[in-house]
């Protein structure tokens, strides 16, 4: 039993990374955030409960049969066979050890002798079953065509997903796109935008948007426009010819809105090592030094939020 305990402890230890992952809280509901963990948790729990139940049941049967077995043995005047040995022999329809000579062959190789026990019935019928399964499988997929092959399965999966997404978007009052997108200003949303930026954009645009492979996002020069709608559009569709990938398949509309809003706040932050300006001077309405300071403050707050979320 103590061995089992250790195994469970090890298993529990292995679950730790999932638990830590579960702590990356955000505004989504607990269930949405932790769907994976919940499903896995339920699966593990089910298995554990099933195992405990099975062990208990077997223990009970063992006890009962041992009594019966002992009684039979006493009646026949022989040593009682242990539960497992008894069960195992019957299960495999093995000739009992004492009667082994009845199935002994005359084969002997370097002192190795061979018995000729029957094929274990469960094994044999299991084999037949897998053959039937194989035949059935081929008929189902390739003769009657009832089963979906890879391509059809894919088409159905995509159609079903499309339906679900549309239903969800309808319930959310429609899709945010480049014509309807609005600048977000709430600190939490900008912070979320920064997180998305760090994970996806910083590699090419620099940790502070100063530009490396991709252009500088902190100056007043924009190649594809510096207003929120243009930034959103550039993120969504990318500029594949110049290496900016379209993000619409990887980021949802609201994520693109958040990161576009964050990028919007970067203008005028003057980070170190800025890349030379590219594109045209783009004057925003009402831009002032105040907004620069505000953005800088935001950044520190964001940092705190990020660290707290680690």
């Amino acid at each position: 039993m103590s061995k089992l305990k250790y195994i469970f402890m090890v298993l529990a230890g292995m679950g730790l990374p999932l638990v830590t992952q579960a702590q990356d809280a955000s505004d989504a509901s607990f269930y949405e955030q932790n769907q994976l963990e919940i499903v896995l948790g339920i699966a593990v729990l089910t298995v554990v409960v099933a195992l405990v139940a099975l062990i208990t049941a077997l223990y009970a049967i063992n006890t009962i049969l041992n009594v019966k077995n002992a009684a039979e043995a006493e009646a026949e005047g022989r040593e009682p066979l242990g539960f497992w040995a008894n069960f195992w022999d019957r299960f495999n329809s093995a000739v009992p050890l004492e009667e082994e000579e009845t199935v002994m062959t005359d084969h002997a190789y370097d002192g190795i002798r061979e018995l000729d026990n029957r094929l274990p019935p469960w094994w044999l019928y299991g084999f037949y079953f897998t053959i039937l399964f194989g035949v059935g499988y081929l008929i189902y997929f390739h003769v009657t065509g009832a089963g979906d092959l890879s391509a059809a399965e894919y088409d159905k999966e995509m159609a079903r997903a499309e339906e679900e997404v549309q239903a969800y978007l309808a319930s959310q009052g429609g899709l945010i796109d480049e014509s309807s997108v609005e600048l977000l200003t709430a600190d939490a949303e900008i912070a979320a935008g920064k997180e998305i930026f760090m994970a996806n954009c910083a590699a090419c645009h620099g940790m502070n948007g100063e530009g490396t492979v991709g252009p500088n996002l902190t100056d007043k020069y924009w190649i594809h426009g510096g207003d929120i709608k243009s930034i959103f559009k550039t993120i969504k569709y990318g500029v594949p010819a110049k290496g900016m990938i379209p993000w619409e398949s990887q980021l949802g509309p609201s994520d693109m809105q958040k990161v576009a809003s964050y990028i919007y706040t970067l203008e005028g932050t003057n980070p170190p090592n800025p890349k030379d300006p590219q594109g045209d001077l783009f004057e925003r309405e009402g831009a002032s030094t105040d907004s620069t300071e505000a953005a800088a403050e935001d950044t520190t707050e964001v940092k705190v939020v990020l660290e707290a979320g680690m």
Binding site: M14, Q21, L36, H107, Y109, Y168, S249, Q250
Partner: protein, 722 residues
């Protein structure tokens, strides 16, 4: 040694005296242990590179992509391979009551095999590879393997033919099947066209290459790691337990069922890949049908221990055997489950598969080898085991090592796969950045390395124990035995069963029918894939690689990128959303060899072409973490120092032409010029992104290939029919 006369033939022939050759057994045993330790150490290094990428040491010879093949080849062909030969040479002589046919062939076999291993250990870190998993070695070594294997086969068959025991025991059936099947697999899979001494191209391309490779790869597991070890089990388990084999008829049924069915199961490595659906389905159903034949072996092993279970508690040899056979049963049940499409969809390309093969490798092959070593060394040195306690310690450390190896990887594989597949309600991937799913499972990789360390520590404990044992005794190179020779004109009595009459005293019959049994499955799957055009629908816009791209592809192969990156987008929403349009069979018709990969430690690369600017790849190859913070990919600085190979480029183009790639006649003369101008163009594009690089550097060729990958298909409207 007892000298039983064949009583049925009532022979009165004089008993002959002869000697068993133990020296050759000892040589193979020692080689197995030494290469086992080396192979496992390399494996441990590779395992630690997952969470400690600096362990590449900044050297091109020690990156994961190059030492992973070194690890797999070392443990399969050097550790297990030498283990097989040791066990076969020991048991075959005794089961046939004769010395090996030729000491000279035995020696050629031994030294030839060790030279092959040595050449593998040199060429693989140098990046000389054909990139076909477990068959990475280049063509000269492939030829050497074929020759030495045939030497082994001749020596074995000749020994069987001059035997003094009328019937051949089940262990020998397995040895014979191993010999013919491995020969067939090795030769067919390694048909390649040499370009230079160290470079060749597979004659097969794309889908066909993949099918043949996994027909080979799967059956390397079947006929190198399974059937010879079943043979060893049939010899050493009854010997060590001193019990009769449980069921002769089970041996017959499971032997033939196993070798016939196993060969069909290869396509389960390519489920949801761009392989024709019918071939995938055959892979699935034959894998499921394989459960019982595999378990037949397990049952015959375990049930042979009936009546000896009290000794299992005390005898470390039997303990190792029980765990080995149980691990065999576990992995042969798991294999068929992994071949079911819905489970495969979750586990393929993940660490689950790595865990699965290590249940078999560490449990079945490793533990059975250890049992054999503990059995043989005291007998061959005429002494007793130095310490039973140390052997028990080894057993427990090893078992714990296996648990710590596989459990974290099962968990890691499942976790990562589910993360790959998770969508937001808006229809985008929750973990759109692949790297998030990697960093999530880093703790599991650490635990796995702990498991590997434990297992290796156990092996070292064993070595100490065995060396002390050997030192306490004296090696017995020759063992005297006596037996009467077989009489001529034997006819099998009618009272014998059909199998005994047809096969068991006619080894050549056994050899031929084994070959027939294993040839059927491969032929049915492979031949139509070549001959029936609808299996690989052509796509008009798919064109051959430019010379520079071909050169870049060879660098991709050399660096073993396929060991971590697939080029196979499966038809799942979670993959097409992440990577792009799913892979079509017709896209790979010029891929000699295919590069589909089998494991995604990093993301799929099939549609990487055009996704990022050249400069991204430039910085990423120089230091992956600069573009992808937290990446566990090693840097490749030598690509920025070494020049791509201009010398052999014309020969490469000619070779591709020979293989049917439609370059124009005489294009090999223009190839270099085209390559140089494309390299210049890329260098100038990089220049515009503030990067100065000589167009001769390997990185330029690699960028050319990466930017081409998977882009042809987008040049037509819509996607070709599949």
């Amino acid at each position: 040694m007892e000298a039983t006369l064949d009583q049925k033939q009532g022979t009165t022939k004089a008993v002959e005296t002869f000697y068993y050759d133990n020296a050759i057994v000892r040589n193979f045993l020692i080689a197995s242990v030494i290469f086992g330790i080396i192979g496992m150490t390399v494996g441990l290094l590779a395992a630690m590179q997952f969470f400690w990428p600096e362990l590449s040491f900044g050297l091109q010879y020690t990156t994961f992509g190059r030492i992973r093949p070194l690890h797999t080849n070392a443990v399969i062909f050097a550790f297990v391979g030498n283990g097989i030969f040791a066990g076969v040479y020991y048991s075959l002589q005794r089961l046939c009551k004769t010395r090996m046919f030729s000491d000279f062939l035995s020696k050629i076999h031994f030294w030839g095999w060790q030279l092959i291993i040595l050449s593998a250990a040199i060429t693989l870190p140098l990046g000389i590879t054909s990139s076909k998993e477990y068959a990475e070695l280049e063509w000269p070594i492939d030829i050497a393997i074929a020759l030495i294997w045939v030497v082994f086969g001749i020596n074995m068959m000749a020994t069987i033919i001059k035997r003094r025991e009328r019937h051949i025991y089940v262990a020998i059936w397995f040895y014979i099947a191993t010999f013919v099947t491995v020969a067939m697999l090795h030769i067919v899979n390694n048909i390649e066209l040499p370009v230079t001494l160290f470079k060749s191209y597979s004659v097969y391309a794309g889908v066909q290459d993949a099918l043949i490779q996994w027909w080979y790869g799967h059956n390397a597991v079947a006929f190198f790691l399974t059937t010879p070890y079943l043979g060893l089990m049939y010899y050493f388990v009854p010997k060590a337990a001193n019990r009769p084999v449980y069921s002769y008829r089970l041996s017959i049924v499971h032997f033939w069922a196993l070798i016939f069915i196993y060969i069909w199961a290869g396509p389960h490595h390519l489920l949801y890949n761009a392989l024709p659906d019918w071939a995938q389905s055959l892979g699935t159903v034959f894998s499921v049908m394989l459960i019982a034949p595999s378990w037949g072996g397990m049952l015959n092993g375990l049930l042979t221990l009936r009546g000896a279970w009290d000794r299992v508690r005390e005898d470390p040899i039997l303990k190792f055997m029980v765990v080995a056979v149980t691990a065999y049963g576990m992995s042969t049940f798991e294999g068929p489950m992994l071949s079911l499409k819905n489970f495969n969809a979750v586990t393929h390309f993940t660490d689950w598969i790595v865990a699965h093969v290590h249940v078999g490798g560490l449990g079945w092959n490793g533990f059975l080898t250890f049992a054999m070593l503990y059995y043989l060394v005291p007998r061959m040195w005429g002494t007793k085991l130095y310490s039973k306690k140390l052997a028990n310690t080894h057993f427990w450390i090893g078992t714990l090592g296996i648990i710590f190896y596989v459990m974290p990887l099962y968990w890691a594989g499942l976790t990562q796969s589910l993360m790959w597949k998770q969508f937001t309600p808006e229809g985008t991937l929750v973990y759109s950045n692949f790297l998030e799913t990697v960093t999530q499972i880093l703790p599991m990789y650490m635990l796995r390395a702990l498991g590997g360390t434990l297992y290796l520590a156990g092996v070292i404990v064993m070595v100490v124990n065995l060396v002390k044992t050997a030192k306490s005794g004296k090696f017995i190179p020759e063992v005297k035995a006596e037996a009467a020779p077989l009489s001529k004109g034997y006819q099998s009595p009618k009272s014998d069963g059909w199998h005994r009459r047809i096969f068991e005293w006619r080894p050549v019959n056994m050899l031929i029918w084994s070959l027939v049994a294993v040839a059927i499955g491969g032929a049915v799957e492979i031949i139509p894939t070549f001959l029936v055009e609808s299996n690989v629908p052509t796509i008009a816009s798919v064109k051959p690689y430019t010379p520079l791209e071909l050169e870049g592809r060879d660098i991709y192969i050399r660096e073993g990128c396929y060991t971590c990156h697939s080029q196979m987008i499966r038809p799942f929403r979670s993959e097409t959303e992440r990577y792009g349009e799913y892979a079509k069979a017709g896209e790979f018709v010029y891929d000699h060899p295919f590069q589909w990969g089998s494991k995604r430690t990093g993301p799929d690369l099939l549609r990487i072409g055009g996704k990022y600017p050249h400069s991204w790849h430039y910085y990423h190859m120089l230091d992956p973490r600069s573009m992808s913070p937290g990446s566990i990919m090693p840097p490749y600085p030598w690509l920025f120092e070494q020049d791509w190979d201009k010398e052999t480029l014309p020969a490469k183009i000619s070779a591709m032409q020979t293989l049917g790639v439609p370059y124009e006649d005489g294009y090999e003369n223009d190839a270099l010029g085209d390559a140089e101008s494309q390299a210049m163009k890329i260098a100038s594009e990089l220049k515009s992104q503030d990067i100065t690089v000589s167009s001769d550097k390997e990185i330029v060729a690699l960028i050319a290939y990466l930017q081409r990958m998977g882009t042809d298909i987008s040049k037509v409207d819509g996607v070709a029919e599949n």
